[in-house]
Amino acid sequence: MSNRTAGYRALTTHRLFWPVVVLVGMLAANTVYRPGFLSVQMRDGHLYGSLIDILRLSAPLILVALGMTLVIATGGIDLSVGSLCAISGAIACLHISQQRDQNSLGGVLTALALGLGVALVLGAWNGVLVAVIGIQPIIATLILMVAGRGLAQLITEGQILTINSDPYKAIGVGHLLTLPLAIFLALAAALLVAAVTRRTALGLIIESVGGNARASRLAGIRSARITFLVYVISAACAAVAGFMMTANVSSADGNAAGLWVELDAILAVVIGGTSLAGGRFSLGGTILGALLIQTLTTTVYAMNISPQTSLLFKAVVVIAVCLIQAPGFRARFTRRRAPAAGPTPVTEQPKEQVPA
């Protein structure tokens, strides 16, 4: 066997190979539809083009999905992230709108601190419900998903709160080194989360708790603390995403900000190869998943697929991504004759039996 084929095999069996293929395929399809799709121009000192839009718009989703990855890795789920985005954005905008000088950096920083602070408290609330009281994560976070929307609207009094603050706006649409600032923020967050999980033992411990909670407890892991922590991290990520979303349009909309982002985030995590059952997680996969989802949305607009059929289109792409990724699917088509590969080794999913 030559070195080349070995390299090829290593490449195609890489976990992220197929999502990348789909992503590239989608970009290619766009380019075929409109040859200028990939072109990037310089405008007013920053880069301008659909690719840049995709990067900028995917930043909030990347952030939310990063937090979600950790939560899912512990075997949980966080439905409240959308509401948290709305709340943190609303608080920040409310504070800024009350400033006499909306452009003052100090005011904006306090606004961010306030928004983040409240999000952390709400994340801790989620954490307590799941880790201490032992409520099933989906229900525990559903409470805040419902009530949080209300809170966000309470803060904005149901109106869209428009602000006029350049420093705040920069979070959403500012530029750094010709590229959108948002993408740097998302990248920084990704690196931070990666460092916190992979440079320390946090990642291992999260994976262990998600892989087998009972065994982890007996190995001396304080799983309650870890579970608590991931919900707080998820809330923090959602808060920053909320800032970006509101800064992007310079206004806080308690109702629409971050609506359904939890579904997109979960989808990104799952496309990225992290199992909803918990255990092994992949931050790189999640980022790729988020980019893929944003590219899909942009494609709908760029190809002007009618709103009536855009959901059908999304359904087809999502299922295609999954199929092409699924080893079971490829196995069926690469060696038609061979019977299905046996199930993976006997691993018992630890069950925690709690009502609600």
Binding site: V146, G148, G150, L154, I271, P327, K351, V354
Partner: protein, 329 residues
Amino acid sequence: MTTLSLLAARTRSRLPRRHVPVLATLALLLVLYGVGVSQYRAFSNIQVVFNVFIDNGFLLVVAVGMTFVILTGGIDLSVGSVVAMTAMVSAFLLREGLPAALVLLVALLIGPTLGFLMGCVIHFFDIQPFIVTLAGMFFARGMCTFISGSSIPITDGFWTSTSQERIGNPSGNFVSISVLIAFAVVAVAAYVLAYTRLGRNVYAIGGNSQSALLMGLPVGRTRIAVYTISGLCAAIGGILLSFYTLSGAPLIGVGMELDVIAAVVIGGTVLTGGSGYVFGTVLGVLVLGVIQTLITFDGSLNSWWTKIVIGGLLFAFILLQRLIGIRYK
């Protein structure tokens, strides 16, 4: 201490234990109802209770289907859209002038077919149910808007008469036909889960699908079956909804899957699978229904306080349910 006394002590404390979550939920539901009665005069009308059933009949049916799926440790996000799609297709076909019986048949076939296909993908290609059913959700919702961008009224005689039939005292307390259908579905589902092989296999797979496979149980068949059942229930729910609203609207039932999942989980079914009862699901639906009724009766909350109070009541309920559960562990 002798083995005998020990075993006796165990059995005594064990027998009700399995039912504690359900009993606790029932008790709390009664408390919730009591709160309503004490606060609002008209709440004690028996029709209020009937209305909860009338208004949540379709939700109940869909939740029953979801119970099957969650019991195997899966999830089905497509139900809300399938409900809408079923109603939409019925309305569309009726408008095109097809006979009611045929429409009913077609509408009842679509949901299970989609469920079956999703089940097959989940089983044969080993893809996570979440993602497959999410695609199913996009697909079904896309079909709705594809059929028509605006809502289609139903004027068919069979539909309208079924919809407006009042069982009981038409000018006093009554229920709709949908409620009876919902009860029938609940009864059948409870029977299937408790007394048929399919039902027991559902529990086994939820407990440990790997073990179930090694025990020689038809894991694949069962898994495909539960998604088909969920699709069927969603289709029945869609029909009930079309009775309820006498129309098909492309945006109806958005987010319904979350209500349904919440109802199932509040009813004591564990999301990782393997434990739960249909009766619990009934209670879960009632809890959501009563909370909503309470809020409407109050009538003083504005939009955001409505959400906050719903969240708060849900929290109080689940917290108490959990604490009682721990207390009796």
